[in-house]
Symmetry: C2
Subunit: 372 residues, 2 copies
């Protein structure tokens, strides 16, 4: 194009938001929205939740090997990073604190290109400690050093609360971490791959990904599900509440999904864990009751629409059930996605090509400055 | 696609690296590589360097208005961010320090979506102070508070050196900042737009962009030009050195460009500023001599190749000439690009659509876990 006055001459295909454009190849996960299936390296997400731990799933994503006995204890926060966390205002958003901590971790550790499984392990095991430290600091409490005997998810709860979680609580959050670990080329993962494609480092990639996940179009608004379940109040009120909500045009949060037309396999896996708990937290009890009613009433009212439960519906009660406050939900989701982000950074770095799309110019024609 | 065992069924077009794929529209800049033209909002880069300042060019990018008298003094570093910078190891890379500072700035200021010109001004005027502070801290010196009477580029040099630069030095670096301010959908700018597209904030976008620019495939390796010019030593040796280098197969750094087939208009603008200086720093004197010889010899040797001077060739001697050390070059480039990154964040946010490409699955077919 030699004449910017005529942008119409740019006839290359343009797909806003890159919808339907294949931007890369991956061996990490496969999403089949029509059938409601999600596979990590070929294994169905439901099987992974039943048989594995987050540490085993993360190792699977990083190395391709299934080692069900893998462990990944949280790592201590370097003193320099802790100083940065202590300096932040206590009102800072946890996502901003986590992004800053990961960036500072990169400044301290200076990871080289290409990203490696060792770097992925180190960063994934660092971030829960950093977020937990900030969660305590902002409440005026001292951070708790990680317990090397606890696996990553139990160790995260331990560093937030100062006491070891019971097995069922740790198991419920571990299931959440597994279903949140990886999900194709969403905006944050794509960000991590673009950053890695310049031969930049894994901390730059994950700090960028956290920034992308912070946006509500990607990270969602999990507190909305919480508020809704809170409004229902008791399982007995679920039927009346759902019918009244739909009659008054209120949108039910946690149903329907851009990709999944069938039941979201991540929601199914989380419900299975919830149902198997001997003593279910009240939040999960309520969520199960609301879901049963909502699916029945939505099916009556909109028989032709694929309004099935999505992962956010169960994410919220699981996170509430294990004792996290809603303002920690997005950053906890980001902790879970570390396995996927870092696996994508490894995959991108191993067969790298700079990601650099074109742009269509639609601005002013060439002109001179006034007075020039 | 219902059978992940048969990824060949995925017949959507795939362009590795998104080469030739239009990923968005912009009114900010137009690059005409064949003719060697670069326009910001329609104005040729050469005119902007001649008539404007970085502050005026940044305002042009943010608001679309040409206000040649615009000023943008550096802003002070918030105490919380300064504490984070003081905590970093003195060996940290300046790009890592700048990325961390921008992330911490976001945690402190909590900028809302959509990005605004006021946010862009505040962030662009913060970052030079943060980088200059780190540049002093790592040398064991106290940071210098910004001088509100100095415009951004002079204020950056002041905060590094503790004394006001002379007018010619400030002018040379200002020209570098103008030509580095914006350049279409490179990997860092695209990163900023992907992050913004989730409705995330301007600090997340710029922190991610810094991470992308850190990679040598994007931010380059400016110290290589420095080493080369250093090897030449004196203008008189240029002819012999260039001929010997080409005869021995050494690649001349700073010549040839992926997009520009003609003389890079940014290099032309920087040379013009260099030539107009009454007392040229030795580095610029040498660079001009090397360029003259190199273009002549390259033209003799490869008459059919478009091996013209690129912007990196002059960036290095300008940055050395104003007294910056090579390890500050990438982060100084990032400071200059703040105007473009933040303008793209504003443009993306004003007509937003989530950027979420597809990915092609090339991994294992569905399988069960061993023992499941």
């Amino acid at each position: 194009m030699t004449d910017p006055a005529a942008p119409a001459a740019d006839t290359r295909p343009y797909s806003p938001g890159l919808e339907g454009v294949v931007a890369g190849e991956t061996s990490l996960s496969h999403i089949d929205g029509a059938a409601g299936r999600l596979l990590y390296r070929g294994y169905p997400i439901g099987e992974l939740v039943r048989a594995g731990s987050y540490a085993a799933v993360a190792e699977l994503l990083w190395s391709g090997e299934w080692r069900p006995d893998a462990t990944l204890p949280c790592l201590p926060v370097p003193g320099t990073v802790m100083a940065a966390l202590r300096a932040l205002p206590t009102t800072a958003r946890p996502m901003d604190a986590l992004r800053t901590a990961v960036s500072a971790w990169g400044a301290v550790t200076d990871p080289s290109f290409p990203p490696t499984p060792d770097q992925a392990r180190a960063l994934t095991a660092f971030s829960p400690s950093a977020l937990a430290a900030f969660a305590r600091i902002r409440r005026g409490l001292e951070p708790v050093a990680p317990d090397p005997d606890l696996d990553l998810v139990a160790g995260y709860l331990y560093q937030i609360n100062g006491e070891r979680p019971d097995a069922a609580t740790a198991r419920a959050l571990d299931a959440y971490f597994i279903v949140g670990a990886e999900h194709g080329f969403n905006a944050s993962t794509f960000t991590a791959r673009v950053i890695t494609s310049t031969r930049s480092d894994i901390a730059s990639a994950v700090a960028g990904a956290i920034g992308a996940m912070k946006g509500p179009l990607h990270g969602g608004a999990p507190s909305e599900v919480v508020e809704q379940i809170h409004e229902v109040g008791t399982p007995e009120r679920a039927e009346v509440w759902v019918r009244e909500a739909l009659a008054s045009g209120t949108r039910l949060m946690g149903f329907g999904h851009r990709v999944y037309r069938a039941y979201d396999p991540r929601a199914a896996a989380l419900r299975e864990v919830a149902e198997s708990m001997e003593h279910r937290p009240e939040w999960l009890e309520l969520a199960i009751a609301v879901e049963d009613v909502a699916l029945r009433v939505l099916g009556e009212k909109y028989p032709d629409r694929p309004l099935k439960t999505n992962v956010e519906f169960y994410a919220a009660p699981v996170l509430m059930g294990v004792g996290l406050t809603p303002d920690l939900f997005p950053a906890t989701f980001a902790l879970a996605r570390h396995a996927g982000w870092t696996a994508h950074a490894i995959e991108q770095g191993a067969a790298n090509r700079l990601i650099r799309p074109d742009v269509r110019y639609v601005g002013a024609a060439e002109r001179s400055l006034p007075g020039a």
